[in-house]
Symmetry: D2
Subunit: 314 residues, 4 copies
């Protein structure tokens, strides 16, 4: 029995990066056809054009901040929906080619940024080794495999892929950085069902350039008990001082409080783009106690009461 063809997933390449690791953390990726793309827009466009069924791209990093290119590529163009999120710690492997002893490491291939984050470990364990800059950590692993350097600082998945020997894993600086990745898909059918620990992502284009517009937007969420977890202004490209807002909030569009808040933003914003409701990676209950009167049951009771007022008692 043939079954469905395996899914095709694009991701921000090259192979062996943390983004590939994020993608491979999905059960459905094990049998999938994975397609590395050179840029985030290229990965998303592969989905838009039907060449891929989903695209894994980085959205934000707990130290670096939002990935602007991802926010912008999701905010415009053919609409896509976020169906999943994956959060990975930024923890590197330091790996050598088989046969190279630590004391023989003279060159380390990686991107300078990663090098900086593990400098403490390198100073202690591989003192005196020089940096050979590469465009990505995965490229560093490849260069080591090809003999161009002695050791790489890379994602664990890259060490594995290039057959390197891992000297140390989980090497990172003091900040315990994490990166959040999202899987974007074409809209088709309902979003994934609510789990109780969901997130909803939006892009809001504010109607007027008036001072209180953002305050009003936040009030629409707050009065309905919808907590904001991320807000990021992005230029609309129409001039300094013209922004849209990339927003994450707690809850699922299927919940009454979120649905009512989204309808309110749809009405009061110039434009509102829905980027999906999907389970949060931490699968934890909401951080903030829910405001009185905003549970699903209370919403349904309130709506039913108004309906009775409208039709009148029997």
């Amino acid at each position: 029995m043939p079954g469905l063809p395996p899914p095709r997933y694009a991701y921000l390449g090259p192979e062996g990066t943390f983004t590939e690791a994020a993608l491979r953390s999905l059960p459905s990726a094990s049998k999938a056809h994975l397609m590395p793309c050179s840029t985030v827009p290229a990965a998303l466009d592969a989905v838009r054009q039907g060449e891929a069924d989903g695209a894994m791209v980085p959205l934000e990093n707990s130290v670096e901040g939002s990935v602007a290119v991802t926010l912008d590529a999701l905010a415009v163009g053919e609409p896509l929906l976020i169906a999943r999120e994956v959060v990975l710690p930024v923890a590197f492997a330091v790996a050598t080619r088989p046969g190279i002893a630590p004391e023989d490491v003279r060159t380390i291939a990686t991107i300078p940024h990663a090098h900086a984050q593990v400098r403490g470990w390198l100073d202690e364990h591989l003192p005196g080794a020089a940096l050979l800059p590469t465009p990505s950590t995965a490229d560093g692993a490849r260069v080591v495999a090809e003999g161009g350097a002695d050791a790489a600082v890379c994602a664990p998945i890259a060490a594995e892929r290039y057959g390197l020997v891992v000297l140390a894993s989980d090497v990172h600086d003091a900040l315990d950085a994490q990166t959040r990745f999202v899987l974007a898909v074409r809209p088709s059918g309902p979003p994934p069902p609510p789990t109780g620990w969901d997130r909803t992502s939006l892009v809001a284009f504010i109607a007027d350039d008036h001072a209180g517009a953002l305050l009003e937007l936040l009030t629409e969420l707050a009065v309905r008990g919808v907590n904001l977890t991320r807000i990021e202004s992005r230029p609309t490209g129409e001039g300094l001082g013209r922004y849209c807002f990339s927003i994450d909030c707690e809850g699922h569009v299927a919940e009454p409080r979120v649905g009512e808040a989204l309808a309110a933003l749809r009405r009061t914003c110039l434009d509102l783009r829905f980027l999906g409701s999907y389970p949060r990676a931490d699968a934890a209950p909401e951080s903030t106690p829910r405001r009185r009167g905003t549970s699903e049951a209370e919403f349904r009771d309130g709506a039913a009461w108004v309906e009775r007022l409208r039709t009148g008692p029997v």
Copy 2:
């Protein structure tokens, strides 16, 4: 063909007061059985107990303020709904018994309050006449008819009823005071249909004695574009500092913005009593420009959009 029995309307008596005039301004009152009651609670209870089909009572006066006894009698007890409002100017007739010339008027029977309001006219036209205080303006007219005084300051309806000669009508002080009356009925069937110039009346019991509760209540109305036209705090009887709020707002419960706001208050207040949606007496468009995104069409579009998000595109 016999048809329905004529309606029975209670009102705050005695006969000949402005409240009766307000009631008689309703077309349906022409064939109705009218029942004067000695107090507002008595009139409302006549409706509650099925002895009357409606009760006309004063709610507020533009100079005196709210009629506390009416607010309180509507806020507790078996629920009633306001089905109509009537606004009357506080303008008095000065009337004498037939055969009495103005120059012969020595005594004027009325309530002291009315006497004070027309003192200017009296000083000019009936100088030297003494006040004979009566419990109501209608009582003053009755006393004049019975020969106990020479002239009355009363509602025009009382002069008519007691066969007096009107020396002057539309006598009032500089403030152009108005009184607003409401017709309360038993809940049965839907409220009167929306007209485009409706009012909705509520009593909100605030959940927590916390400082921001009133602010939150007003925010629930404001974000949905529902304008407040009257707010009155009334003690709940549970101690100083414990209040409920008697509220009038623009709009009709059948409108999405009002329905959503009422559902929100129902959820977030300790208790919310709906006192009806009914046409405003001024039949004028709303005073304040509607906030962006709060029209009926925008509400329906927003809700439809969210529904599409939930079910997914075809």
Copy 3:
């Protein structure tokens, strides 16, 4: 050494009412010359015209609500300040003329309202006695003293004043009603010093008839951590729908948070009348936890920080 002349205090009469009892609860009343007045405006005008140094008047009752005449008389006319508040339980004495045994009581003189509140006690202890209505409870006591009735329901102070025998004191219905009285004085010098349990009273005339004006007013208080304890709308007399707001809030004008909030209301309202900062009668700490950043020390630190920004570091 002669010293100051004794203070002269007006109050809402007649003698022997709860208002006199409230006034006599002030230490300074013991040597004062007390002046009963027939109305609240008369008592306040006695102060305005220099005939009295203060006037004790009722402001609100936990069951009846605000005393509209007091609110209105304080809101307009020559400004007065509230210097003290007194809260008294509404608990009556039932008293007879000496020599009358309970079983001989046939008539009870009091205002009907008070009679209603103690009906339970009367039914049990003085069954069958008829009500003789009087304009005030104090009048009831006087009538009994003069032999016109057998028993009075009155303030304890009236029984004492008229030499009656108290059958029962602290008689009241289930609601434990309280009345709050205030002592109004002419503005001269600073308000009484802050105690830590102060109240500030205001009358706010809203600038525009716009829907959000009350919301904005409450926001000005809330952002500065000033809790509202009473808000009452009163007609301005300019037509239905035109109100001012009589407001009590926690705190003293000498506190930075209150001062800043009052300045904000002064700027944003059409008019703002300050009615005084004075100790709350309950002398209790504030009911609501203070919002972060609104203590006196935090206000002073914030202002000092801004001052440093303005002048620049050394």
Copy 4:
């Protein structure tokens, strides 16, 4: 008489970039010693360590958004103040080495990003020329001057510096992009005096991770009539979901409304960093009508009124 030594200004290099052009637009730059730095943090640290008197760095671009490295470098470390802002259009010069005719241009040296923005012009005027990527537009000009390519796409200042012949200036894509640069200095003395078209920059660290914290922050600004012109969330590095906010608002700390708002944020935020009050580059009046009651005169009147309440009338 020798006078002061010339100022020393650091800037984001290399020489010949738009940042240098922004710096040279300042009158004080004409006699200054200019120090190109390889990174924004290096330029700011030169000021912090006293090696430079100011540093010009890019803050945001109307198409690309904020320059995260600038926001982050200003948000932490030894405090700096923004003393000036400069806004430049992103408009390129296309320039050749003297003696090269347009029809002989085969290679174009620039950063790929600039190449993409002027592709329309190149396709029309220099068809067939290949891109030679360089790390900056200024490097492209240098490469052309040294004979390594035929034409450069660069800032006008770079063409001038390297003695190139400008084929076209003001070449840009349809978006009319602008970049905003700021001059950061060490705090010493007061900020530049208010001009009437000032901006104030802040970094706010929100006290609690509670949902309404951003809403409260915006409310503190809004009630005082301080308009937000930019808000950007940046990770604090303490984990996903932990942000600080980089904020620009209209007005000057010397104004009462701004000073009061800053004091409020200082009190209610976990930390607040003041980044300066300085003239807006557009020198235009504020975009939004000022909220009632927030002018400087109204603030002073309100404060004076409260002061009179506190001390009492004479």
